[in-house]
């Protein structure tokens, strides 16, 4: 029990705040605790959460990725052409194609980071620009609506009609999200590869001396991020039924904020699936609550921003680890290693 408390301070605090928020919201709004609202909450955040667990792995390994949302858009476009070439494709091909494309893009990042000792923030900002620029250039910003029907048809994994006749349902993306979260959890918490990723993020030089294959760890972290980006891209199309080149750009920073809010440490070695889920849900429920309380949608972002600002200010004040205050320098210093 003590281990739970000491190991997951951030997560437990966040959980407490989240529970308090849920209690308040369910008192203030009768809609909050309805099946319809809760399922919508999950449906709307499935894609973010898929990205979030991918980003979590990268953050634990001590890196950062800015390019994943753009990578997801690239995957969507290329996938459209692949499905065309495959004669339409199906869900199986969908996952394989999008997954492979995503992994490929992730491995480009990993290769540049590892081979040329460039820190991840520089590489992913560069690839962000390169991916996005090339995507917009080759597509000329065209939307694609003419998509294979299997891809855009709604698939419900859960349907329920409440007494008052309103329907609530969970769509496929929630199932995929659950699978992604579970798989990520298994990898980082239950396998030796996960241990090595934590170790590499925590003390890369120490990990290297212990015999950890650093190139492989970078590849796993960024490859997994790529895989998640690809799958998220696939599911995003299923939700919105269109492919828009600049629809996802800009969401990377929101996801990053949510994941870090959930206790993942910029600089590596720390972070958990639980925290990641809580971080994403915290932002989602704040937004949902504001919506239910009738606050103007234009004010959402403002309130979320200030909540995060307050959260990080206070959490650092009370949990202050004086030795960890060295900002970006410490966070990314150790990424560029001698071989």
């Amino acid at each position: 029990m003590r281990r739970l408390v000491t190991g997951y301070t951030v997560e437990l605090r966040l959980l407490a705040v989240l529970l308090a928020m849920c209690v308040c919201l369910s008192i203030l709004s009768e809609h909050f605790l309805t099946a319809g609202n809760l399922t919508a909450l999950l449906n709307n955040n499935a894609v973010n959460l898929i990205w979030a667990v991918g980003l979590l792995v990268v953050l634990i390994s001590g890196g950062i990725d800015i390019s994943f949302a753009v990578a997801a858009s690239v995957v969507q476009y290329v996938a459209v052409y692949c499905f065309g070439a495959l004669g339409g494709g199906n869900w199986f091909f969908g996952f394989v194609v999008c997954g492979m494309l995503g992994i490929g893009l992730g491995l480009i990042n990993a290769y540049l980071i590892h081979s040329f000792r460039i820190i991840s923030i520089v590489v992913t900002i560069a690839t962000f620009n390169a991916f996005f620029g090339l995507l917009m250039f080759f597509t000329s910003g065209r939307f694609i609506y003419n998509l294979p029907s299997w891809w855009v048809d709604r698939i419900f994994i859960f349907e329920h009609q409440a007494a008052d006749g309103t329907w609530s349902e969970l769509n496929l993306s929630v199932a995929v999200m659950a699978a992604c979260v579970f798989a990520t959890w298994v990898i980082i918490a239950g396998t030796n590869v996960g241990r090595q990723i934590y170790a590499f993020g925590d003390n890369p030089e120490g990990a290297r001396r212990a015999g950890v294959n650093i190139a492989f760890m970078q590849a796993v972290a960024f490859g997994w991020m790529g895989l998640m980006a690809g799958i998220a891209g696939l599911m995003q199309v299923n939700i919105v039924k269109e492919v828009v080149p600049n629809a996802l750009i800009g969401r990377e920073l929101d996801v990053l904020a949510a994941v870090v809010l959930g206790g993942a440490r910029l600089g590596g070695g720390k972070g958990s699936i639980l925290g990641c889920i809580l971080g994403v849900m915290f932002v989602a429920i704040t937004q949902n609550g504001l919506n239910l309380l009738g606050v103007s949608p234009f004010a959402f972002q403002m309130i979320i921003g200030s909540v995060i600002l307050i959260a990080i200010s206070t959490s650092n004040l009370s949990l202050g680890d004086a030795f960890e205050r060295l900002p970006l320098a410490a966070a990314f210093k150790r990424r560029t290693l001698r071989r």
Partner: protein, 511 residues
């Protein structure tokens, strides 16, 4: 198995048989530079051995050959537990049970104790599931072998260095190490922690695990090990029994020079006091400290780490505020609230941690020298004048005879001794009246240490009051005018090097 090698000391311990490691004619050249030349080195099973030598003598090259990081040049013979090898790969070294605990420990600060100890079983490319529970049990077993009780689920960064070291040893044991190299294991330990470490190492030795200490701290080298090998400039100086070794002799073996230690104490009681501390207390750190440092006087403060000596210094330079008591500098009452306050009052502090606190390693020598006195190098419109900066820097480089390439080079390119001189320069630019030297010789070669103390004596002669904080009894005894012994946050004893002997002080401090 043959038991004789060049320079071997006679077999004296009973019950020890066989060799854990035997190296003969080790040669290693790096692109023409001979790092090791015909070095022989051997360790008995269950022996505590010491590998001594100054920085750059080839100690670390030797370890890297044994652990497979480097492969030796031809002619080298390696025998590990009776098996011959031409060279060793890192993986081989691990399976042979050779393990190194580096000075930085190479542990993982955000993992728990158990995860750290059991980490090595996770290494590998083949994915496999791992069970938290069983790795906890194995970690516990390793700790039990050391007869140490540690909270397995504590996060490593919540532990003091000494306990982290124990974690590192347990980790080596967990990886079935039979020959453990410890690189500068005690450089940041207090005496009692060192004693505890020694106890653990002895436990290991009775279990048949050999331990090689790699160190350049003289006292402990003699105290801990049964035999020692001295290297100098890549060559073997000799293998000695520690029973008849003295610090002075070891020092001269390591440096190749006769080191003379003379008590330099003099009577300064007639000089005006510079620093007067009256009943200074800060809860949990030090209490009721009263002391006086006179102009031209070097006052040593000896105490184990945790005795409150560095904490006292932190209050003098304004990093922390004392709860009660008074501070006077040159008769004027001061209460520094920040390092800048302390600097303007005339206090300078040479930190014990040169690597992370004393200097900004990546930045230039020039910037590090002027960092404390920016207001003195301003020119036109209150902007920094490069000319003034340059002349100030070159003045101090000459004054302290610092060996540098160019003032614009990074400080990290300098040797430990020269870095320490840059720290001194940085503080002397502030024209301090009180200079606090906190463990000034940590990481400085034996040969270069005397130079640091020569500078300190010269500064004292110029009228600066010096507070010399250290945990090396030897150092304060020979280099201060008076020695104050601090224990549990209080000053408990005053020692006069001129009239009392070193061993008297040692007896008190280590009692």
């Amino acid at each position: 198995m043959t038991a004789s090698a060049a320079g071997e000391a006679p077999e004296s311990e009973s019950g020890v048989s066989g060799w854990a490691l035997m190296l003969r004619n080790v040669n290693k050249a790096f692109e023409g530079v001979q790092a090791l030349e015909d070095v022989s080195f051997s360790v008995r099973i269950g022996e505590i051995h010491c590998l001594a030598g100054e920085n750059g003598c080839g100690k670390s090259t030797l370890i890297k050959i044994v652990t497979g990081v480097y492969s030796p040049d031809s002619g080298t013979e390696i025998e590990v537990f009776g098996e011959r090898h031409a060279s060793i790969t890192p993986a081989q070294a691990r399976t042979l049970g050779i393990s190194v605990i580096w000075q930085d420990l190479a542990l993982f600060p955000h993992m728990t104790v158990a995860e750290n100890i059991a980490f090595d079983e996770s290494v590998g490319l083949i994915p496999k599931f791992f069970s938290q529970g069983s790795s906890y049990r194995r970690a516990e077993k390793a700790l039990n072998r050391l007869r140490v009780d540690l909270d397995l689920s504590a996060s490593l960064n919540s532990l003091p260095i000494a306990k982290r070291q124990i974690v590192a040893i347990a980790r080596a044991l967990h990886a079935n190490a039979k020959l453990i190299f410890m690189d500068e294991p005690t450089s940041s330990l207090t005496q009692s922690e060192t004693d505890n470490l020694l106890r653990i190492v002895k436990t290991l030795s009775t279990e048949g695990v050999s331990v090689v200490f790699v160190s350049h701290r003289l006292a402990e080298v003699i105290e801990i090990s049964s035999r020692l090998t001295v290297l100098r400039n890549g060559r073997l100086v000799g293998v000695y029994d520690t029973s008849d070794m003295t610090q002075t002799r070891l020092g001269s073996l390591m440096t190749g020079q006769e080191l003379v230690s003379e008590v330099s104490a003099r009577d300064c009681s007639g000089n005006p006091p510079v620093l007067e501390i009256e009943g200074l207390s800060r809860s949990g750190e030090y209490s009721d400290v009263s002391l006086k440092v006179r102009s031209g006087e070097i006052v040593g403060v000896i105490g184990l780490i945790g005795a409150g000596r560095t904490e006292l210094a932190h209050s003098l330079i304004g990093m922390t505020a004392p709860d009660s008591g008074s501070l006077r500098l040159n008769g004027r009452r001061i209460s520094p609230r920040s390092v800048r306050d302390a600097i303007s009052a005339g206090i300078a502090y040479v930190s014990e941690d040169r690597l992370t606190l004393g200097l900004i390693q990546q930045q230039s020598i020039s910037a590090n020298v002027v960092i404390t006195v920016l207001s003195k190098i301003l020119g036109l419109m209150g902007l920094i004048s490069p000319k003034r900066q340059g002349s100030l820097v070159s003045k101090w480089i000459d004054e302290l005879a610092i060996q540098i390439g160019h003032p614009d080079h990074a400080v990290s390119t300098l040797s430990g001794g020269n870095q320490q001189r840059v720290v001194l320069a940085k503080w002397l630019t502030t024209s301090p009246r009180l200079l606090i030297l906190d463990s000034p010789t940590v990481g400085v070669d034996v040969g270069a240490r005397a130079g640091i103390f020569r500078i300190a004596r010269k500064l004292a002669d110029e009228g600066i009051a010096i507070l010399l904080i250290s945990d090396e009894v030897h150092e304060v005894h020979y280099n201060s005018d008076r020695v104050l012994h601090m224990r549990n946050g209080r000053i408990v004893w005053e020692h006069d090097p001129a009239s009392a002997s070193l061993s008297q002080l040692e007896a008190r401090v280590y009692a």
